[in-house]
């Protein structure tokens, strides 16, 4: 037995991001036919040799992790922080053996239990009781372990009355509670947790955090990803900062949080070069979003101010009417709302445009937000097609407005993310 639970050396993970090489209009019909035939031959060849399908596109490499090296001691609670896309989830996936590293070496001693999602493997048709066994087995618990903890799990989840009801009839709160309860009773030597604590209502979250602290204090090795820096500082003994796939810092949680904040973490980024960013939802590629920026030095809006940004786009083919749409998401990644623009931008093939997008008053509550932006045609009323979709970009903050007496106004998160217009009230008369 040594004191190292996980030893990671030079770990890299590459994903191939595929995009269309040339737009359809750039090539002649004959070229297209020949190219099409060639790619058909090639893909048939790939197919017969059992390789992954390639279409007529260039492959672009994207390194989700690059040369990451660190050790985790037995019994240590290590936090991992980093922006979205910094490689946190990929790192956890490699450690939990879901995906294989492209380079490097990884040595794990002990049983790994990974919790990348709450309720993995839950089946809606099965009852709560059956799902406890199913989910437990999926997470790597033996039948005996599950049996031994069954009552504890049910009590923790507060679903005793509905144990024999199919979970498809559960409320979302009950579902999440049950799922987390199973996960919380997982006791592997090494526990790998992605941001799954941010579920349920405030009271249940508190309970979950208590449980996590419990697990951590019992000398288990825990790897823990969270955006909640406060929790991170309280729970972990050491923290690792990931920046675009590389390990930027490893040390005390306080120092890591400081480093994370100092790096700006995009907090003060006003230009977003999104052209080469990998896309989670590929559009049809008729046009592409190149850059996005805020027309101000820091990405902060007042809460009664309109939202404004500038998008640079390029059309790959002729587009009669291009439409923008935008979704605003809160820190947890939940959508707050979306809006569509008029589909009236006409573009020629190869043309690049800067477009200013403004939404007069979104009435967002103070807090941090991010945007998802898409270009396409049509809208939510008539059905739509997306040319390109960029997620998790244009991070901005809404500052609270000043209160009546010069103090900062106060808005509780529990009230939601949108400040509706003030109530119009009319006293209709008195009742004797």
């Amino acid at each position: 037995m040594t004191d190292i639970a996980i030893s990671i050396q030079g770990l890299s993970k590459r994903y191939a991001v595929e995009r269309e090489a040339k737009s359809a209009l750039d090539v002649t019909y004959r070229e297209a036919i020949v190219g099409g035939a060639r790619s058909l031959v090639r893909s048939t060849g790939d197919f017969l040799r059992g390789r992954a399908a390639r279409r007529c596109e260039t492959r672009q490499d994207f390194w989700a992790l690059r040369d990451v090296t660190f050790d985790v001691m037995r019994g240590e609670v290590l936090g991992i922080i980093g922006r979205n896309g910094a490689g946190k989830s990929t790192l956890l996936k490699v450690i939990s053996r879901i995906t294989e590293p492209t380079e490097g070496r990884l040595c794990i001693s002990g049983r790994v239990g990974s919790l990348l999602e709450v309720g993995t493997g839950f089946h809606p048709e099965l009852s709560g009781r059956e799902n406890i066994y199913l989910n437990g087995a999926v997470l790597g618990m033996t039948r005996r372990e599950i049996l031994g903890k069954f009552d504890e799990i049910v009590e923790f989840a507060e679903v005793a009355k509905f144990l024999d009801t199919p979970v498809k009839r559960y409320s979302s709160g009950m579902y999440v509670r049950l799922a987390f309860a199973v996960a919380a009773h997982l006791e592997p030597d090494i526990l790998v947790v992605d941001e799954v604590l941010a579920v349920g209502d405030a009271q249940f979250q508190k309970k979950c955090l208590g449980k996590m602290r419990d697990v951590a204090s019992r000398g288990r090795t825990v790897l823990f990803v969270s955006h909640n820096l406060g929790v991170m500082e309280r729970l972990t003994q050491r923290a690792l900062v990931l920046e675009s796939g590389t390990c930027a810092f490893i040390g005390s949680p306080a120092a890591a949080v400081a480093r994370y904040a100092e790096f700006g973490v995009g907090e003060n980024i006003v230009e977003f070069d999104v052209e080469k960013m990998p896309r989670k939802y590929p559009g049809n590629g008729a046009a592409r979003i190149l850059r996005l920026r805020f027309d101000r030095p820091i990405p902060v809006f007042e809460s009664d101010e309109g939202f404004r940004c500038i998008a640079s786009i390029r059309a790959e083919e002729e587009i009669p009417g291009l439409r923008f749409s935008m979704a605003v998401l809160d820190v947890q990644g939940a959508a707050v709302g979306s809006c569509f623009g008029p589909g009236t931008i006409a573009m020629k093939a190869g043309e690049e445009l800067d477009v200013q997008l403004a939404v007069p008053n979104m009435r967002l509550a103070p807090g941090k937000y991010s945007c998802g932006l898409s270009i396409g045609k049509g809208n939510y009323r008539s059905g739509h097609v997306d040319f390109d979709v960029v997620l998790d970009t244009l991070h901005f903050e809404v500052r609270p407005e000043e209160g009546d007496s010069g103090t900062v106004s106060f808005w509780t998160r529990g009230w939601g993310s949108i400040i509706f217009p003030d109530i119009e009230q009319t006293v209709l008369g008195t009742r004797p």
Binding site: A53, E100, E103, G104, A137, L139
Partner: protein, 289 residues
């Protein structure tokens, strides 16, 4: 970084016997041991699929009986009454068809379910580790349970036709195992292909439909002309179905030994192809699914 490692000679990989070493491009090397360790998950997944299979149906498990029964009824009506196909010597035609329908329906359901299994379990595959082989295996086991249930039909039909089985019936488990192995190879091969190429979702039902005509389901192998025998036997299901017939009809149907051995050879080849392809591609399932 390497220099730093060199300066710390005490820092090495953990050495105890449970240590797991993962290197790029190599996998863990303890695959088959892992498969055994995860057997509990295998039971649970198979149980889940079984429990869910007939949820919200009125007839439930009776479907396992009804499907072959109706097929046999239709085949008997069309091929015996209308097309006048002969049965094996002395055995009722319906019983002969049943002996072909059971393994065939097992084979086709196993292929269909297993090939879809990885994609329909993608939520699991992208979120937890386990030897992926468990998923298609569990899918086939569910189909196997259906087959075992439908064996009751054999007894029922025998009673109906007052047909006395021979000692050969005792060899049926051997042929069931053969049917299992015969479907396992192609099923693994197709399931790993289906992860990358969803074309197979469309191709498989079509291939299975064609397969029904070249397998001796509605007719007896004895109708196949001698010159075509070898070509005909290249279908591994021929050996399986002939075996079922021999066991159920009590030897009044003969097994064609050349064909039977060819079937076994093909089963072995498919099994090797299926397992090796599956093992080669499964490491990337989570990335491409």
């Amino acid at each position: 970084m390497n220099a730093e490692l060199a300066r710390r000679p005490d820092v090495g990989p953990p050495q105890d016997e449970d240590a797991l070493i993962i290197e790029a491009g190599r996998g863990s090397g303890l695959y088959w041991r892992d498969l055994w360790r995860y057997r509990e998950l295998f039971y649970v997944l198979a149980w889940r699929d079984l429990a869910v299979r007939y949820k919200q149906t009125v007839l439930g498990l009776a479907w396992a009986i009804l499907r072959p029964l109706l097929t046999v009824a239709v085949f008997t009506l069309i091929f015996q009454r209308i097309a006048n196909l002969p049965s094996e010597a002395g055995a009722p035609y319906a019983l002969m068809v049943l002996a072909g329908v059971l393994p065939w329906q097992f084979f086709s359901a196993a292929l269909a379910e297993a090939s879809a299994s990885l994609v329909s379990n993608s939520a699991l595959i992208t979120k937890v580790y386990f030897p992926r082989l468990i998923v298609p295996l569990a899918a086939i086991v569910v189909v196997l349970v259906d087959l075992l249930v439908s064996l009751a039909l054999i007894v029922a039909l025998m009673a109906w036709y007052r047909f006395m089985p021979g000692w050969q019936l005792l060899t049926l488990p051997f042929f069931i195992a053969m049917a299992f192995l015969a479907s396992l190879g192609p099923a693994l091969w197709l399931s790993s292909l289906n992860v990358t190429y969803r074309d197979f979702r469309h191709a498989i039902p079509f291939m299975l439909q064609l397969g029904l005509y070249i397998s001796p389901v509605a007719f007896s192998s004895s109708l196949v002309p001698e010159g075509w025998r070898i070509l005909y036997s290249l279908n591994p299901m021929v050996g399986v179905i002939d075996g079922f017939r021999w066991a159920i009809l009590g030897g009044s149907s003969a097994i064609h030994w050349h064909g039977f051995l060819i079937s076994w050879a093909l089963i072995a080849v498919f099994l090797w192809l299926g397992v090796s392809r599956f093992r080669r591609t499964e490491r990337h399932f989570a990335d491409i699914i």
